[in-house]
Amino acid sequence: MIRSVLLASGLAVALCIGGLVATPKASADEPIVIGQALDFSNWMLTYDGQPQRGMEIAVEDVNAGDLIAAEELGLTEVNEAKGVLGGRKLELIKCDTKADREQGAKCGAEMVQGGAKFAAFSCDYDMGGPAALQYAAAGIVGVSVCGSDPKIGVQGIGPTIFTMSTAANAQGYVLAEWAYKQKGWRNAYSLLDNSIEYDKSLCIGFDERWEEMAGAKLLGKDVFKQDDPSISAQITAYKAISPEPDVMMICSYIPGGASALRQIRAAGIETPVLTSESFAGQFWFDSVPGLANYYHGTHGNVFSPENFTADEKEFLDKYQAKYGEMPPSSHVYLGYSMVQAYVKALQQAGTDEPMEIVKAMETFNDVALLIGPTTWTADTHIQNRRPWTFFEAQGDGKLSFIEKFRAEKAWDIGQLKAWD
């Protein structure tokens, strides 16, 4: 009994000692610290992992004076000085959120305490939110590596919070416009996995834009859940739809999305399927053997070497040299671009004071980062019209580049103004 109490107190004391860490103080000669409160080990790794690696490479590049597209971004002096603001090095500090909210908040606080004035947080709004709130409370710049919920940012968490990604509703817009204009489809059907907010916003955006366009009809929609072992009931319902839709928009993510697609194709439904970034590349293609009539829109191209731009090629060579493989998804560009954006903002502001960085970032207007033209304004800290890269799979087990496509109509983030 007493032993138990002693054990408990002993652990508590160990806890106290374990927690005593020195706090580094920043000065002009010391490195500029960039925080990473990301999932390094749990299921969010699928989304956080690649941007995390992109950031690593970017930081190495800055410190080695080898930043991609330095000239276009007006950052040649960074490369010459092998560092930012006249030679200060960048340094990454990391914390594993383990896809856990409390741990996420703790990681956020840890980044602040570690001296970061610019820090990344998880893709998802609900997973990344706790860390972002810590950043916002401390007044440092927080950027989501790939969060697509428009409530991230000024409208939601706070004035210093940004995301690298495109709003999910805007992704729905660009997918709808592409399907309508480039493929000439008119009858659509949307299948929503309602387990996360991203997918809901995506399908809302798609449905909304689709029904606006002349002659386009939404013949039906249905829902399923990420962890449903079978979607046979939905398939049976789909088969009853007449005429057969031209395109099936699936708003889901891997693994549930791959499972749904396998069942759909196995049911003999060969309707063209359209998906967005959350289907995260082609690593899951074994799930749907001989996948054809599959169209996928995402941030950029890591799949079709013959279509790489010079910048992409330069980056992917570095990636391969460092990690010995090709990145599984274009999310990796988001991480690199985040550091590019920070460096540009630092140079522009001439200081690492967070509010100055925010002001600099809010002047970005189609700045050509690796991920593509990036725009932030005082009330929009998310992309709503960045070009989207389209691929198809036609039974050959890989994604082939089709084109980059930019939506005509930007999704209006003004709907969220009420959050202020």
Binding site: S41, W43, T46, T236, Q263, A267, F283, D286, S287, P328
Partner: protein
Amino acid sequence: MTFFFQIVIDAVSLGSLYALTALGIGLLFGILRLINFAHGNFITIGAYALIVPSTAVVATPFIGAWAWFLMIPAIIAIVIVVALGTERIAFRPLRGANMSSLLIASFAVSYVLDHVIILIFTGRPKAVNVGAELARHISFLDLRVPAIQLVTIAAAIILLGGLALFLKRTSYGIQMRAAAEDFDTARLLGVRANTVIALAFAISGLLAAVVSLIFITQTGILSFRMSLNLVIVAFISTVIGGIGSLVGAAAGGFLVGVASVVLQTVLPDDYKLTRDAFVFGFVVLVLIFRPDGLIVTRAVRERV
């Protein structure tokens, strides 16, 4: 009419999958009062055994590449070994502990196995294509039915029938039934606890392996969280069916599966999202009005 039969088959096959899972959980729950959340890990491990252990993003098939007559016994054997291993290492030392200790132990086992999977394979989902021919639809009359649904139904019938015969006809089966109804009395009557319990774990491993193969044929994708939902549903089914009653467990699983499909079909769009709330609401009602489940055994009656 075709539509109707299609729905019936959808419902029966999902019901069969749940029934097989519920049976695996119900068996141990009946005998040991163990809510074995690690049952989900048995299913997950069976699926992961199909691919080469590696942290690479794209999975390489391992056992999944073998011919089916080698693959199926191999997966079954692996899962049975895992099930027996957890029994020997984790649950046997806890024999006689109360229900909450057992529950927490099974949670701990499940937690450890989850993270072993993460450590070996990472938390990223992995694709594997097994039984693609079965996933395809076959036609008869006007119906187009995925072969896997028929396989699921057939597997459920064969395994339930086989288990029923085993329990009725063999001496181990009779001992196991006695243990499920009243473990203490059964022990007094000379039932060998270790053997019967190990056997029960082996059977639950067998059932998990079959569910694993069906599941993966259906979905083609692996993730360490893949069977949590399945296990929750199966566990609830066990209770609806009647604690300690194996027929009840299977029937409960079947009922929940059918109810899910029917609700998914008949509910208006706005309410489809809350489908599960209806299912769970139904569960609460059953528990209130028939607290011992639909099939009552002696196991739940309190003796004065």
